[in-house]
Amino acid sequence: MIELKNLSRQFGEMWAVRDLNLTINKGEFCVLVGTSGCGKSTTLRMINRLIEHSAGEIHIDGQPVRGFREDLLRRRIGYVIQHVGLFPHWTVARNIGLVPRLLGWEPERIAARVDELMALLGMSAERFSGKYPRQLSGGQAQRVGVARALAADPEILLMDEPFGALDPLTRDGLQEELLSLHHRLNKTIVFVTHDMDEALRLADRLVVMHEGQIRQQGRPIELLREPVDEFVESLLGGNSRGLKEAALTPVAQRLCHAEMTSGVPDIDANKTLRDALSLMLWHRVDCLNVVEGSESLGTLRLADVVTARAPMGTTRGLSS
């Protein structure tokens, strides 16, 4: 559990973060979102003390971060940054094994861990472990960056706009994988982004920051439905919030007709309502066959998509 209490950071005359209170539970995926300069990165970097806080307290599992030696604290917390920052003079394997080596693990244990992590991130150890960072594509490099952050099996993972510099397709794939990693490993993740779609897709807890303070926090669906003010509303997309909510809701949740309709396109039950809407618009139809693998589950009608409202708390969980 990470607790930020009355946290402030002043740069000269300017308050980057002011009197911020936030509790992130163990295993939670917390996304800090806001415009540039809102203090989200500063908040993140205060957790592993890359920036020292000027006032307030940060506790990890009840212990203040100032009680740890900086470098020992950072070795316990995984850290991923936008430009990856792989060490260009080391191979992929050596980059991933950095923190275990700093912690003084046995070489065999490090090698085994590196292989394990590469497998976890879907990279063939045989092909990639001997490569140098400049031989990798952007997506591959960031996979290595995530593997490096996970190497010593930290409880907490801090991610500072990790996918910001990637093309949309690669970003999409990595978001998917990150969600699945989160489900499997149950790490506490603090993630900073300014991409609202990314934030909505990933977050258990979404924290909207503005001018160094938290404007609103809660589950994504809560913020979409009940933004506290115009700023949060416009940041979340204003009138396009309907589509954003649709993108959070799986088709399976709105499925209420078990019968089959012939002559209409299929849609996978794990897709979102947004996909369903798009498919209907494209094919100029008002119902779709919902399938799971080769098995047919029933029919989704346009009215189900538009009018029925999902009870709060049942969204999410698309990718398990």
Partner: protein, 398 residues
């Protein structure tokens, strides 16, 4: 992340400037500990060193140190206004140094000995060096331009010239004595030095640019061409001068018309050849880079607008390349000023002659008479060509 830079700025204005404090403390120590001047009854006898207290009593020394101490204290809290005061104090101290020498001459050099001379001691050199470093530091911290920094130094230079020219106070300064006895030779040497440097840079420029254009046209020549120039650059100057003596002597002996042009194994001919050789690498490299490194988008746009290739070269490539080429000329000129001094060893004349004569006669002031003007010449060439480059840079100085 966003707030890092303003933080650095606001903190810098509040805290001490340890660099200036360090420089001022070192100046005070050097001033008190090292010998201030040396006095010799004539040119042959080595001078005897005199410390600051020998030059002036306690009150004089303390009074002289006052501006430096105040500057050091002010640097403990370096707001912009305090830095300006520090700059003025440092300039004032620099401007007062010739007066200190005059005081030393008055107190220590007996008027009965017409050959008696005053040498500048280590203490003064070190303090001069440290104070110049302070000027650089203040200039950087105040964000002054090259010109404004130069103006700061103009005041001490004017003070020095004024004392030297308008008053007889420093007539006994050893450097001045050396100069007075050979002022004609000195001016000739400066002329020779400048001629050698400008001739070599001029020829180097013509040959270098031609070579660069040839190498651009025939890419296969690039590798071997640069390898050859690198090879040339690696050969030490004294060795290259030496290696040129034999073939030139042979040429002069076998072709009287060459000899009649003044070419021989010793003298200006090997010096000029060697200096041209050394000038080629920086010039070719910079010309090459200058013409090659123009943003391809710009060239594309120029072509797209319908410019002919001649127009592209004259109106786009050349103006963009000029500052880089000038940078090459600057490097070459500064390098040639130093190398021309070595050329004095093979009889090419120039200021280097005083250095080597002085070394031969163990006359240190004569060495200084050669070395100091070379140093000043190099610094001036660097500053002037640098400023010209900045001026030519599209959009002005960065």
């Amino acid at each position: 992340m966003a707030g890092v830079t303003p933080a650095a700025h606001s903190m810098a204005s509040a805290k001490a400037n340890p660099v200036l404090v360090f420089l001022m403390v070192s100046s005070v120590m050097a001033w008190l500990v090292l010998s201030s001047v040396s006095v010799a009854p004539n040119r042959i006898v080595p001078g005897s060193s005199v410390g600051v207290f020998g030059v002036a009593g306690w009150p004089g020394v303390v009074l002289g140190l006052l501006p430096v101490i105040i500057a050091g204290v002010l640097a403990l809290k370096s707001s912009r206004r305090q830095l300006v005061v520090v700059a003025l104090l440092v300039v004032l101290t620099l401007a007062a140094l010739p007066l200190w020498l005059a005081l030393a001459a008055h107190n220590l050099v007996s008027p009965e000995l017409p050959g008696a001379r005053l040498g500048i001691g280590a203490g003064i050199w070190v303090v001069l060096f440290l104070l110049l470093l302070s000027v650089i530091e203040v200039r950087t911290r105040l964000g002054l331009s090259r010109w404004q920094g130069g103006l700061l130094l103009l005041i001490p230079m004017m003070s020095f010239s004024a004392v030297l020219i308008a008053t007889p106070w420093l007539d006994s300064l050893a450097l001045r004595r050396e100069f007075v006895t050979r002022s004609d030779a000195f001016y000739t040497a400066i002329g020779e030095h400048l001629l050698l440097v400008s001739a070599s840079v001029g020829c180097g420029l013509v040959i270098g640019v031609t070579l660069a254009l040839i190498m651009r046209h025939w890419p296969r020549l690039r590798g071997p061409g640069f390898a050859l120039l690198n090879f040339l650059q690696t050969i030490p100057s004294l060795a290259l001068f030496g290696l040129l003596i034999a073939p030139l002597a042979w040429l002069a002996a076998n072709h009287p018309w060459l000899a009649s042009l003044g070419i021989s194994g010793i003298g200006w001919a090997p010096a000029l050849l060697a200096l041209i050789g050394y000038s080629l690498l920086p010039l070719v490299r910079n010309t090459f880079v200058a013409l090659d490194d123009v943003d391809p988008g710009v060239i594309d746009a120029a072509r797209g607008m319908g410019m002919t290739s001649g127009q592209v070269f004259r109106q786009v490539r050349l103006p963009l390349a000029l500052p880089v080429l000038l940078e090459g000329i600057r490097i070459t000129t500064v390098q040639a000023i130093g190398l021309a001094a070595v050329a004095a060893l093979i009889g090419a004349g120039g200021l280097g002659r005083f250095i080597f004569q002085g070394l031969g006669q163990a006359a240190m002031d004569l060495v200084l008479l050669g070395a100091l003007p070379i140093l000043i010449m190099a610094l001036l060439a660097d500053a002037l060509l640098g400023a010209l480059g900045e001026w030519l840079q599209p959009g002005g100085a960065a």
